[in-house]
Amino acid sequence: MPENHASDIRIGVFICHCGSNIAGYLDMEALADFAETRPHVVFVQRNLYTCSESGINEIKKGIQEQDLNRVVVASCTPRTHEPLFRSSCAEAGLNPYLFEMVNIRDQCSWVHMQEKTDATEKARELIGMGIAKAALLQPQEIILSEVQTRALVIGGGIAGLTASLSLARRGYEVVVVEKDQALGGMLNHLYKLGPQMQAAKELAAETVQKVNAHPKITVFTRAHVTQVKGFIGKFEVTVETQSGAKKIDIGIIIVATGAQPLVPEGLYGYDGKRTVTQFQLETMLAKGLDAAVRHVVMIQCVGSRNDERPFCAKICCQTAVKNAILIRRQYPETKVSILYRDMQMYGVENEAMFRDSKAAGVRYINYDPADPPQVKADKVGVYHPLLGRKMELAADLVVLSTPLLAREDAHETSQLLRVPVNENGFFLEGHVKLKPLDFATDGIFLCGSARFPANIREAVAQGLGAAARASIPLSKGSVEVEPIISVLADEDACRGCGLCVALCPYGALEVRQTEKGRKVHVINVACKGCGICAATCYQHALSINSFTDRQIEAQIDAFLTVHP
């Protein structure tokens, strides 16, 4: 042990019964007896619940009274209690990274309930390995990094503008980058918004006016983000604006790039005139429908819920119903039929709108995707399942309900920011349930249809949510980062080949020119300690500081010595 004198290492091992969760299936006494025989172990204790207040106090007492300088807890998964045990160590004055956790519940008592002897044996092996690693642990310090309190919002649609206003009202500077000439996004192309039938242009104008008037918000239109370097708190962003490239220091980034409607070329005789999309119908309604249009037929799920695009875009049904109501109210002589597979009318307002549409005389006919409607010169043929026969509906105007798709440039944005997209090209959040508005990369958030087709209400809610999430690091002014990260342990060995840089999913590595030549540099704040670089480096120059080769080899040795 070069770093510590072997005699200095004093390991305490706490073995948790977890009530009967562990003790009911393993021989706890045998485990404690075994732990006592391991090198450097000076204290072993069994607890009914190590995570309980009394268990935590025992750890603290052990550190103080037994002078422990390494702590091993054999219990459940680190995902649940590692932070708790670490902070207990810290409270007793021990560096929290001199703690090692062994999972004898999920990996032993739970999965091998029927095999007490073998499960106990496995727990012995795991505890032996944990102790061996603990002896080689080194103290680590939490990394603190400053956060620049300026936000970048990519996309000036309703989601991005709502997020921008919310952040600006909290006192943060916001830079909005919009690729089009005008702010407002999709709203600029819509007529009236369901369910209150508010004019889309009014909402757009009102929001854009607030954004333009806010002193904390800087807007660049006809602009693109061309380069993003750095990490949470310290992004260096290059924006190509109408007046040239600008470099801006940014703390957090919100992706609100929206989506684009599918143009159904080749489907149902689409021609953009007599057969149009719901998106085009919005513009037609704003101008006023041709008086000759007396029969409108809408077809749902055009280009979606098929092999190519298996998803339901979820907002086309409510759009069709809303537009059908608008037509019936403004042109009472005009009949509207909606040919559908299933109606996706979630929520109180949508369901009410659906009922209203039926009261307003909108006709609904279910169709089978195996036998889809046929659009003819002035009719639409469809099999009516309730009448049990084919029928033909007069159709002066056919409206196709097509899904919103991921933007074509979403992939570029994804590469620029090093954030993932899913199989449909939409941006992928950090966790479907628990981190719906965060990317896995710290400091980058998402909202609106960039994630998945959203109606206005959803886009606004997500814009507010993303702004709230982004406010956490902005309000703190600094971020704390886990110090279990990659380190250039052997600088001489590094040849600066850059293989690790190309593979790092977090942009945490870069090659720098140093006095000793080209060497890799770890950006501590951006590193997640995933270990890809350490596993890749054929020179063994990089290493994860709490998963060093020596620590892992010591674990393997310990495993082998448990079986003499």
């Binding site: 479907v432 999430r469 406010s471 956490i472 309000s475 703190k476």
Partner: protein, 55 residues
């Protein structure tokens, strides 16, 4: 203005709101009518689509 927030209801929405506010440095008082927080989610086994343990 007092920089303290009252959150009524300790289900997943109330808990997440409380955590986010606390992370912003704001003192939060979370009030739950039942003996423990967790709400409906704590009563579920696994939740779609990731099927991870709800509790």
């Amino acid at each position: 203005m007092s920089k303290e927030v009252l959150v009524i209801g300790g289900g997943i929405a109330g808990m997440q709101a409380s955590l986010d506010l606390a992370d912003m440095g704001i003192r939060v008082h979370l009030v739950e009518k039942l003996p423990s927080i967790g709400g409906k989610m704590a009563q579920l086994d696994k939740t779609f689509p990731t099927n991870d343990c709800a509790i």
